[in-house]
Symmetry: C2
Subunit: 458 residues, 2 copies
Amino acid sequence: MKVSKFGGSSVSDAKQIKKVLDIVNEDPERKIIIVSAPGKRHKDDIKTTDLLIRLYEKIQNNLDYQSKKKEIIQRYADIVNGLNMDDAILTTIDETLELYIEQLSDKPPRLYDALLSCGENFNAQLIAIFNNSQGTPTRYVSPKEACLIVTDLPQQAQILDSSYTDIYKLRNYKEKLIIPGFFGVSQQNYIVTFPRGGSDITGAIIARSVRASLYENFTDVSGIYKANPNIINHPELIEEITYREMRELSYAGFSVFHDEALQPLYKDRIPVVIKNTNRPNDKGTYILHDREIDSNKVISGISCDKGFTVINIKKYLMNRIVGFTTKILGVLEEFNISFDHIPSGIDNISIIMRTNQINGKESQVLNEIRKRCKVDELSIDNDLAILMIVGEGMNQVVGTASKITHALSESNINLIMINQGASEISMMFGIREEDAEKAVLSTYEFCYHGVCLKNLCQ
Amino acid sequence: MKVSKFGGSSVSDAKQIKKVLDIVNEDPERKIIIVSAPGKRHKDDIKTTDLLIRLYEKIQNNLDYQSKKKEIIQRYADIVNGLNMDDAILTTIDETLELYIEQLSDKPPRLYDALLSCGENFNAQLIAIFNNSQGTPTRYVSPKEACLIVTDLPQQAQILDSSYTDIYKLRNYKEKLIIPGFFGVSQQNYIVTFPRGGSDITGAIIARSVRASLYENFTDVSGIYKANPNIINHPELIEEITYREMRELSYAGFSVFHDEALQPLYKDRIPVVIKNTNRPNDKGTYILHDREIDSNKVISGISCDKGFTVINIKKYLMNRIVGFTTKILGVLEEFNISFDHIPSGIDNISIIMRTNQINGKESQVLNEIRKRCKVDELSIDNDLAILMIVGEGMNQVVGTASKITHALSESNINLIMINQGASEISMMFGIREEDAEKAVLSTYEFCYHGVCLKNLCQ
């Protein structure tokens, strides 16, 4: 049994939904379908979820919300018309929105979650009704019926461990099941949305629960690129990648499949494939627990993310002072700052974190470190990007670091930091933000095509 | 005013002592002379200090110690005869040894320190008497008279801050002063030896106290080599190096001048020169607070030390768990293990320490980490060497990392770890112990001579 999830652009209008159902109906293994809210139909379109956020804001500010509500209903009306369906469902949609607004207007965080859930929820109902009418027994299953029981904190849903067993019962249904992504229901009977990764998480939880043979994640690209297509012209696609590689790439900006959604899949080793709704015969990218390693092609992907900050601390004879590092980390903990890496020298240590972790608290944090740790020198630098080169088996192959540093050096990129060692499958380089694109370009071309971008980058 | 310290081989016999005094008497700025105990006269000789340790062991084991004592006195008798001196001093030496043995045999740690101090102390007295008799007003000054007042814990002497002011008064003497290195006197009036670096520390403390214009450290090499001469055939000498560079090189095995001895000099920026007693006109190596940087020659030295251990920890979604690192470091602190570096990935962290820190506690520590931190995977590796490439301004020059990783890769050396970033003046590479010599050789040849050791190392 496969669990198939379709993203916003795959279910944005009648035409796309027909493509989705062709894919679904073609394969009897595709039994459980997770759908997103209707996404953008063209570049300047607005996602249904964003319309729902605007509706919520109108209500919160006591403004007239009727026209915004109509705009939302119109999205579904377009789909209903495009599919030649009975438009009775539009009345249900209208009534449901009004019901939430009436019942929950005194509980804003609950109203927010309930309204946002509508995007996926209405779409799932619609698609189920339509597919059933076309002759394939199909059934809408609400997250509550599916036993997607989550924690109660608004917008922070976490699946309860007990749910995994209960959701397994979805296997008993005979029909194809259409389930809305992005939210669950708490034991207190509230709708609660997932924090990040939305529908991907719903799909992952269900795929694990029903022990799916494959979790298909349909989107509008034919898989995961080896590097950011905004930087590299038509980069190659990754054929197979491990969960761990995916995690490392996600860390530095890869966002095709949210790494939060990998967590439920990891333990039971459920394989994932990223596929393209518009080109369903393309192979896609498989995300697996293990994969065979070709020692001639050890680098799976290259990512680079901006927005990092580094605090540099110097203290003569630092390595003689027991507990010095713990003392510094203690200061960060007090300010609730989570750091990422702590490269160290003999008399110095650096702490690397996301800039958003320390924004606004910089001078306080530095003062506290200065006061408590009696440092010789202290500086902060907000201009850091992290370049991540990822590949299973990379540390088995002599010369990988040499290749990458050569490519960067030829492009005249200064290395502020190198962090290699803890992870066997990645190397991390700290560079200036302004060098980020150049770094991806030069390492990509050199590592995959042996092309040295010396002239380009001078 | 210069403070000049002479190491064990420089004062090992009459001939060497004459060389030392020629150097001392030739320059009126050389006013304060620190001397070591007589060192080895030839490869198979035994240092006086080691003879004194054996004497102590005989006494401790209630064995007859007379012949060992005679052996020690004979070392000084050889010097006395070689210098045609009155041998009355040999009686004083004998009596002093017997006095310590009598007075301190119920306090073994005190006896140990007192006996060991004799090596330097007798030599200083002897040399002072001789030089004075040759017409240069010269005076022996004991550490007590010099106000070298230290903490009272045996073998762990630390200078008291107040001593620096008192020692300044040595400037008032008119004669040349000969002071024994390696020990001070506590406020409880016990002789206490320095933990490490011995006479270098005495010299450094005195150089700082009297605000010396230069601290000369005479030994049997003409300075500090750019790499270990046991690995590189006739390596080049370093002309100038900063305190910070010296610290980093010392960390990974450079031991010409002990980095503990740099501490007193650092704050007042007293320059040090390492010179050769046997070739006093050689320029030597200057250790300075700052130096000019030649961007074409950024690498000052290459060192490599074995005996490191790495603990590798994997935990999926580690970077989401606040305080995870602190928890692990807490375990190490409880076992009183001081670690050196903590390179980290996304889902993994490594802890690097000297193997002697964890020897014998390995399984306990691993169990405790496993128990408290619920890790996915945990491994330990005792086979790590640290290669340290040091140079001020290194991080300003693009391509340094590329050069080094290229050299290592061509010699087929796998990089277990790269730690660069916190220190601006060094890069640290973790390699297998068996690759240590090869790594020094290939980086030395490539970085200094542009020679690639590909064929040599295949």
